[in-house]
C-alpha cells in the first residue's frame, strides 16, 4: 500500500515536471488564456454585469461555482478545528474568584453559589489572564471603526479591491481583538460558539441558496440574471446585485469561521479562557 502511494506521487511529480516545460511563459500575450479568455472578460464584464471591478465579477459571477466551494472549504476548516480540538465540558469541582478591590482570592466548593457577572469578583483559573484598562478601552474605541471599514470592504467590492473574503476576515478580526483585549469568556457570552457555527453554515446557505433560487426561477445554477423579477431590476443590474448577495454570504461564513477557529484554538478546545 505504501509502495502504491509512493509510485503515485512519483508519477504525478514526473508528469508535472514534464508538462511544466510546455506551459506558456508567464505573461505571454500569445497564450490561449491571453488570446481567448482575458479579452472576453475585459470587453464584456461591464455590459454583462455592470461591475467595474473585473476581478469581482469573474470571482462571484463567471466563476461562481469555484467561489461557492471555496466558501464550503472554509466551513470545512472550521468544522475540522471543531471536531479535532473541542473537548466536552467538564463540571469543575472548585472554582476560584478574586475579590478585585482587596485582592483576596476565595474558593467556592461544589455546592456553593458562585457570584455571576460581577464587576467586583473576577473568575480565576489555571489559564487566567490579566486584562488592562488601557488596552480594553482602546479596543472598545477602535472596534466600531474596524467593523464599519469591514462592511465598506464587503459592499465596495464592486468598485475597488475587496469583497466577501476580505471583509469577513476584518469582521472576524474585530471580534478576535475584543477577545484578546477582554477575555474569551466575555466574548463567548456575546457571540456564542453555537451562533458562530450556525452563522458559518448560514453564509454557505445564502450562497448556495441564491444559486438554487436561480434554478427554481427556471435558469441555470448561479445565473443571477434570473433574479431580475424578484429584485425588480433588469437582468444586468440583477447580476450586479446577485454578486452583492453572494458576497454577504461569503463574509458571514468567513467571519464566523474565523471566530469559531479562534475560540477552539486559543482555549485548546475548552472554551474557558482564551489568550
Amino acid at each position: 500500500m505504501k509502495l502504491i502511494g509512493k509510485l503515485t506521487i512519483f508519477l504525478c511529480g514526473t508528469l508535472l515536471i514534464v508538462f511544466a516545460n510546455k506551459f506558456p511563459d508567464f505573461g505571454d500575450p500569445h497564450s490561449p488564456a491571453a488570446t481567448h479568455l482575458s479579452p472576453y472578460f475585459i470587453e464584456h464584464t461591464m455590459a454583462d454585469t455592470s461591475v467595474p471591478n473585473i476581478v469581482t465579477s469573474v470571482l462571484a459571477d463567471y466563476r461562481g461555482y469555484d467561489t461557492m466551494f471555496e466558501t464550503t472549504v472554509i466551513l470545512a476548516a472550521g468544522l475540522a478545528c471543531f471536531f479535532l480540538l473541542r473537548l466536552p465540558e467538564e463540571e469543575e469541582k472548585e472554582i476560584y474568584f478574586r475579590h478585585v478591590p482587596t485582592g483576596v482570592t476565595i474558593r467556592i466548593e461544589e455546592c456553593g453559589a458562585a457570584p455571576e457577572d460581577s464587576e467586583v469578583f473576577q473568575r480565576i483559573d489555571s489559564q487566567w489572564v490579566p486584562c488592562d484598562i488601557i488596552i480594553r478601552s482602546t479596543s472598545r474605541l477602535l472596534i466600531p471603526f474596524i467593523q464599519i471599514f469591514a462592511l465598506y470592504v464587503v459592499a465596495h467590492g464592486h468598485h475597488s479591491p475587496g469583497g466577501g473574503f476580505q471583509g469577513g476576515v476584518v469582521l472576524g478580526a474585530a471580534v478576535i481583538l475584543f477577545a484578546i483585549s477582554h477575555n474569551l469568556r466575555t466574548t463567548v457570552a456575546k457571540i456564542g460558539e453555537k451562533s458562530a457555527a450556525i452563522m458559518s453554515a448560514a453564509g454557505v446557505f445564502i450562497y448556495a441558496g441564491t444559486g438554487a433560487l436561480c434554478l427554481v426561477l427556471g435558469e441555470s445554477f448561479l445565473n443571477y440574471g434570473a433574479l431580475a423579477p424578484i429584485l425588480g431590476t433588469d437582468r444586468v443590474m440583477a447580476r450586479s446585485h446577485g454578486i452583492l448577495i453572494v458576497e454577504i454570504g461569503v463574509a458571514l461564513a468567513v467571519m464566523s469561521v474565523m471566530i469559531w477557529i479562534y475560540y477552539n484554538l486559543s482555549s485548546a478546545g475548552k472554551q474557558d479562557e482564551g489568550l
Partner: protein, 110 residues
C-alpha cells in the same frame, strides 16, 4: 511644496531607520520596544504628512478627501501603536523580565 513633502518623507524615513537600528542594537526588551514604538509612530506621521502634502499640490475636492484619508491612518496609528507597545511592555513586566542596567550588564536578552 514638492520640496517640503520630499523633505518630510526623508525625515520620516530617517526616523524609521533609527527605529530599525534601535531594534537591533539596543541591549534589552524594553529599550528595543521603546525604539520600535516611538520612532515608528513619528516616522509614520512625518512620511504620511509628506504624502498628504504631495497629494494636495494638485488641489481639488477628491485630493482633499485622499489627504484626509491619509491623515486618518496617522490618527489610528497614533491610537494603536502606543497601546500595542504598552501591551507588550505590560506582558514583559508580568513575566518578570529584568530591565538592563549599567552595572548589572546583560539583563536577559531575547
Amino acid at each position: 511644496m514638492n520640496l517640503i513633502s520630499a523633505l518630510l518623507i526623508a525625515i520620516g524615513l530617517f526616523f524609521f531607520l533609527g527605529g530599525s537600528i534601535g531594534i537591533i542594537r539596543l541591549p534589552d526588551f524594553y529599550s528595543r520596544l521603546h525604539a520600535a514604538g516611538m520612532l515608528d509612530t513619528m516616522g509614520l506621521f512625518l512620511s504620511m504628512a509628506g504624502l498628504a502634502l504631495y497629494v494636495l499640490t494638485d488641489f481639488s475636492f477628491a485630493n482633499v478627501l485622499v489627504a484626509i484619508k491619509i491623515m486618518l491612518i496617522v490618527v489610528f496609528v497614533f491610537i494603536t501603536s502606543p497601546t500595542a507597545t504598552h501591551a507588550i511592555v505590560d506582558a514583559g513586566v508580568r513575566a518578570v523580565r529584568e530591565p538592563w542596567t549599567k552595572d548589572k550588564k546583560g539583563g536577559n536578552p531575547i
